[in-house]
Symmetry: C2
Subunit: 460 residues, 2 copies
Amino acid sequence: MVIDIQKVLKDKSFIDKEVTVCGWIKTSRSSKNFGFIELNDGSSFKSLQIVLESNLENFDEVSKYTISSSIEVTGKVVESPGAKQSVELHAKEVKLIGLSDRDYPLQKKRHTMEYLRTKTHLRPRTNTFKAVFKVRSLIAFAIHKYFQENGFVYVHSPIITASDAEGAGEMFQVTTLDLKDIPMVDGKVDYNEDFFGRETHLTVSGQLEAEAFAHAFRDCYTFGPTFRAENSNTARHAAEFWMVEPELSFCKLEGMLENVEGCIKYVINYVLENAPDEMEFFNQFIDKGLLDRLKSIVEKDFGKVTYTEAVELLKESKADFKYPVEWGIDLQTEHERYLTEEIFKKPVFVTDYPKDIKAFYMTLNEDNKTVRASDLLVPGIGELVGGSQREHRPEVLENRMRELGLDVDAYEWYLDLRRYGTVITSGYGIGFERLVMYITGMKNIRDVIPFPRTVNSADI
Amino acid sequence: MVIDIQKVLKDKSFIDKEVTVCGWIKTSRSSKNFGFIELNDGSSFKSLQIVLESNLENFDEVSKYTISSSIEVTGKVVESPGAKQSVELHAKEVKLIGLSDRDYPLQKKRHTMEYLRTKTHLRPRTNTFKAVFKVRSLIAFAIHKYFQENGFVYVHSPIITASDAEGAGEMFQVTTLDLKDIPMVDGKVDYNEDFFGRETHLTVSGQLEAEAFAHAFRDCYTFGPTFRAENSNTARHAAEFWMVEPELSFCKLEGMLENVEGCIKYVINYVLENAPDEMEFFNQFIDKGLLDRLKSIVEKDFGKVTYTEAVELLKESKADFKYPVEWGIDLQTEHERYLTEEIFKKPVFVTDYPKDIKAFYMTLNEDNKTVRASDLLVPGIGELVGGSQREHRPEVLENRMRELGLDVDAYEWYLDLRRYGTVITSGYGIGFERLVMYITGMKNIRDVIPFPRTVNSADI
């Protein structure tokens, strides 16, 4: 029976026993009578050292196996004299599964992130991406675990949408019309002939749909892909990314902030506990100081400040900002980072933003100038989470929609939620990739998405 | 502090204590001096009975609150004399949160499923859909839990794709081109001006991308939305649905079948344990016999039969099929159901299908006629899971692709997986909605998707 390398590395009961393992050759070096292969089977970040001795039947052949070849090894597990690994495997028999071509593009040397982006199908085999995508997987699961343990219902909000949602950004159109021969009526596209009989797009947010479920299940969350057709070629923007959008009923903004803080801390703790090797790797090679930063976030209470106070603090700081600070502006990343890194030195919630820079569905405060919105700012990145208490008063909501010139008819269903037993709800959105970047220290969103989609780029 | 109704119902320590709960009125009836409200806050399937007595300050007003209104109730928890509920709440104070308009479309009476589909934003408030979407959420989580506990890495395969994948079906096009003014060059659409600089579609499967990850992580799974632009207006087809696609390296078909069986049983057990009230409801009102069927599936070993044997069995049965059975045909639902319901009377894996009815990437058997594919057939539904051992020999794979006239260049990256350390991998796909239908007994896919998308229908 083939044993996971992870088990061989961790379970002391294998010592002095004979086992069979399979894996890919990460490195191989040998002299005339002796050889070492680092074998990785994907079950653990760390590889198992295979020791080859010249009494191995096919020693000469095995020592020539190329990087990334797959092999099956039977041998004895022995405690390792080296400090680097706890055990090693003394090979008795080595069988070739698949020899790797000599032109394997990821030979043992440093490759740039840019180069690796041209090999998205192979880069998960490198240490960096093995760590990134394992941690991405753990973060996703930790999010589900957190919400499920707290009684939240997971909702799959629709990907194809006929509504423009919150006007949150440029949208991709979805169609089955033949682009070479678009049916037109009176100078307009005839959507009767399209698949859904109407114009449809890819969703930019599942929040409004989640609110419908929150009015039945109280607490729910979405976790799915969302899209922006924005021509932003930056390290933080992708056309396709995943969002987590929890929605809590009978819950004011303050209760929601507790939930946000609980979620972020839960996820970080889960990753620290379940991916110690990967996190050690990030700390050493990707972002020195990462572990200290994450640990301090888990230990400290998050700060809280109103937008109005925050603007005052930024003005008082006399810091040299590219964008000047005035009440009413949308805070820029430089302001957000200054607040969390220099002033608070920890994650901080900014609350009660001017209504003019926020969406229509947020609860209007009595000052009639600000809304019950809150962003969570974290050191090293700025905004990580954005949320708000929703406007639950049907008249106020409808007025606000008219004020902003929205098509009220298209939101009748959303207004229904307030007409038929309205309750106070609050909700937030976590940009999943941003959270992955934050926890891994990776600096480009393209490097935390398995197959990233950005302007002019949709390979594989 | 407001307490979840679920806790009040389950935790005996609340008995004789005063608590405050919030929720929506499911039903309300009252006489002159006495009233009862069924209150549900979404935290549990069961509602809490509120007892109103005429000494309540606003008794007259409260007894007139409309269905679906939201209220806050403070009162004493007392053991209930009725058999239907364990405890009830004797109201001391009732506060209105949001009165529901009298035209609430889901008054207390039976509505057809068709009608409820026109109210997707409200139907989660009904018993049926509260049960469906809670169980859907639990199934999703159970899937994650099963794979994570078994060391699988969760991969987000891309939604927008530039490849035609396996040619599995009609695709939706994704574009930012102005449909009224499509740029053309030499009679062809000029995709240089489109967002990605090329033609793109919505994915039909994440399998091939998952295989890339399986060659790094060994075991991985996708769980995300997939799309078919097929004009099938049936109870089993949706344009947007979720798929789970696990992929196992160093694993032959047999090992994969064990994993499938483990997964299905794990998920059913998880739901039976975590949603007893909902499952009882389905058993009573949606699909009598459901619980017995599910329990028997968990207890029995799944059967196994080759396609060739299955065809013989079907022929011998002399059953009256609409589509005659011959070696080489794609089994129809009637054949599948006959096999699992009449012949095996339990879930059964059919293996080794004719190569001509299966995809290019499946391992060719030595007979050169069949491939190492397997479908899992289950009583009441037919095919629930489809999978195969992948063709790991690069030359055989490439030959097969040429034989089928595929564009080999577009699959260079996929062939790379076999060039650089090929291993035996096997994988399968579970149509998530089909699994939800199977476990809930619901008969139409539109009724297990929060906001279904089908031909000519994409509301909200």
